[in-house]
Amino acid sequence: MSSPRPTTPVPAPRGGFGRGLALLMVFGGLGLGTWLDRAPATGAPGAGGDGPAIRLEERAAAAGLAFDHAISGLHPLVDHIRDRILAVGAGVSVVDVDRDGWLDLYVTNTAFGAPNALFVNRGDGTFVDRAADLGLADLNREGSGLCMGSIWGDYDGDGDEDAFVYRYGRTSLFRHEADGTFTEVTRAAGVERWINSNAACWIDYDRDGWLDLLVTAYFREEHDLWNLTTSNVMHDSAEFSANGGRNVLFRNRGDGTFEDATAAALPDTKRWTMAANAADLDGDGWIDLYLANDYGPEEVWINTELDDGARGFRLGDVGLGHDSKSGMCVAFGNLSNDGRLAIFVSNISSANWLFHGNSLRVNRLREIGQVLDGRGGRAVTDTGWSWGAAFGDLDNDGWQDLWVTNGFVSADPDRDYWYRMSQLSGGTGGLLADAANWPPFDGASQSGFERSRVLHSSAGRGFVEVGEQAGALSTHDGRAVVLVDRENRGVLDAVVANQRGPLEYFRNASPGAADRAWIQFDLVGRAPNTSAIGARVELDFAGGTQVQVVEGSSGFSAQAARRLHFGLGEQGEPVGATVYWPDGSTQRLTGLDIRVRHRIEQTGRAASSQ
């Protein structure tokens, strides 16, 4: 195949030098590669530089947060890869279920007969599980599928928050009654479906004041994973799959019922959606959606007026189409305190096997119609097989930090499923889609025993991983994470739901965090959206402008508190904020005292508490 070349006599010294240089390039190149490939620097407690250290103390047991997540088996056609299919379901959401000002936690389990838990905050540092008392425990029943997570919001406008539980299976909507209990109204409300879902999101997409409901889909809806007639249920491509389930949009009629608006209002895509989050991304006053898809690209669904004058979503061409990876979560936050939302989507990375890498993006839809890559560095992009994430100012220095959970399947540490998966991943779609071709997991691990990453913001110049030094040491397979001021002391703690593991509660003991400035907002929207879901707060302080949204879902299998917490660093003066309410109205607030939780009502009245 090669063309013969005439040889030319070469002076020996130059030829020898050339060969020596070539050897240097080979082995020096390998050395250079080894050096460049080294792990990113991690922070150390008390080190000088960009700010105080973060210190965490795991106290779930002491706080009464005893909860162990479990999974069940599947139909024999797919049970051999149960560890993969049911590698999800450990969800945690924050709600003030009794409206006493102390934030509570709802946690989902994923095994038949295993109860979910509603940990009610007693206000004394402990919780009590009241799920059974209130009708929210026994939700993993044969025939209904298994729970994956929950979202909370006032869908009926009566002033308290109701619950929607999504499953690989039947959807469930629970109306919060006046006596504090919950009544299942799924069928009566018209939202009963079999959807194999990993995410749902409350969103008032038509700005009529009533919370609508987006339920995303993973496996196709015709598949009951416990009553299968085919093993052809998996994705047909490792990076470009479009044979997933159909996301569903339920429009709230305002009379306690919903109508299916999917066909009219949603793009006709069948991605394998893992997470969805909502915010006004293009600055036009209407709530948009950001979706993280497994085996495919992230998507932005732009809220738009349809031909018939109604509202709906179209798939935005915003620069994401070709970046096809394995998106797991959508977390909104601040990178530079410039008033723009940053978007973090977790992904998979594993040495030599795969580097999809987390996406840290900056929303520039308003300016240029694009979502751009941010600059997070390897500490941000490479956090293992990553799942949930949450932005929050853990040390109140005025810059949001980022908590990322990770770990896929932690079983036998001496056996690795990566090779088996790699055999199929490079093959054509038909092979991948048939579960019968997947080798059994058989107790092997895959990207297991990974430690969550706690990324401390270096004053907006980047992130440093500080988790190990801070005390986030466990190597459970983390899924959902929420950052919540559990003790109402102006400091964010962390709660992590682990797959097939214990619920973890990390009390934040970061030096100085309680002393630095902060401010919190409890927004109360005008009825019926008293949860104020979709409201955006832009807070101006000495360090710039921070933006946060009252979210209808958060991260992965999670929902953050409706209460918004802003760390303000060394701020000494009162601050100002602008609230952009979901109905399009705006409210400007000035002279807001710091180190205070402010209750802001859309009627214009404000009240504060410490």
Binding site: M1, S2, S3, R5, T7, T8, V10, P11, R14, G15, F17, G18, L21, A22, L23, M25, V26, G29, L30, G33, T34, L36, D37, D236, A238, E239, F240, G321, H322, D323, S324, S350, A351, N352, W353, L354, F355, G357, R378, T381, D414, D416, W418, Y419, R420, S422, Q423, L424, S425, G426, G427, T428, G429, G430, L431, L432, N437, W438, P439, A444
Partner: protein
């Protein structure tokens, strides 16, 4: 192939066209390049390295085409969010042609060597899912690849490898209980065909005789089978991430070295110099 053969019929140009076609199609259809900067990083580094070393070693300019093939192969086979793996891999690939020689001939397929080495010492990923999983891409690669190897007179190498791989796949399925479709699945991936059509048939690093090539390819497939049977040893992660790459890296140079050593006493004049292959 005589010097009067039109350039567009010469195998090296066919390789260049095919590899470019793979790259362009992959980028347009699947966005396989995270950033276009990987092209100057890899191809640019390869060209600079090639020219520098060729001038130093041979006293004349290098083969741009050869460097282009090395650089482009790197871009197709590696998927990293950073630029340095592309530049480093391309540099090592080209440099290996001049550094790792025996009797004036380089022993390793350049990209094969560099990727194997980088996998051993870094976490650079090579999982072969860059080109999507469409059977149409597979069919395209098959069609054009078969054309190339037929014109190049090495179809027997590719077919032998495919048959040997399939036979060993059946053996592995019998030994491990893994479905036969799973064991055969890698063959249906576009990246695996890149290996079967280009890397394993690279003339400067294959043995000369037809029988010898067939024998070596069967041994490569056997070694690959051996690596795959060690799937339950996660400490062998780099090898398990790219079994055919390492099998070729192990067997190919040994076979080439043995052939050159056996042929050495019959060589009348100076041995041909290194640096004419790419992928």
């Amino acid at each position: 192939m005589t010097t009067n053969t039109p350039w567009w019929k010469q195998p090296k140009w066919l390789i260049t066209v095919l590899i470019t076609l793979l790259l362009v199609t992959g980028q347009m259809q699947f966005g396989i390049l995270r950033t276009l900067w990987v092209l100057p990083a890899a191809v640019g580094t390869a060209v600079v390295t090639e020219f520098a070393l060729s001038w130093l070693v041979r006293g004349r300019g290098g083969s741009v085409q050869s460097a282009y093939i090395s650089g482009t192969s790197t871009v197709i086979l590696i998927k990293s969010p950073e630029l340095w793996p592309y530049a480093v891999c391309a540099m090592i690939a080209v440099a290996s042609k001049y550094a790792l020689t025996y009797r004036g001939r380089h022993l390793w397929n350049p990209t094969n060597f560099s990727i194997s080495a980088l996998l051993l010492v870094t976490s650079v990923p090579i999982l072969s899912i860059q080109m999507g999983n469409s059977p149409w891409i597979v069919a395209l690669v098959w069609a054009v690849g078969l054309l190339i190897v037929t014109r190049a007179g090495v179809l027997h190498v590719t077919l032998t490898y495919l048959l040997a791989f399939s036979g060993f796949a059946v053996l592995r399925a019998g030994l491990t209980g893994v479905p036969i479709a799973t064991e055969l699945a890698p063959l249906t991936g576009a990246m695996y065909q890149f290996f079967a059509f280009f890397m394993i048939t690279d003339p400067p690093t294959t043995v000369a005789s037809r029988r010898g090539r067939i024998g070596v390819v069967i041994v490569i497939a056997a070694v690959e089978c051996g690596i795959r049977l060690l799937a339950d040893h996660p400490e062998l992660r780099p090898l398990l991430a790219a079994p055919p790459i390492f099998a070729l890296a192990i067997v190919g140079p040994i076979a080439k070295w043995a052939e050159l050593r056996r042929a050495a006493p019959r060589t009348a004049g100076p041995a041909p110099v290194a640096g004419t292959s790419g992928a």
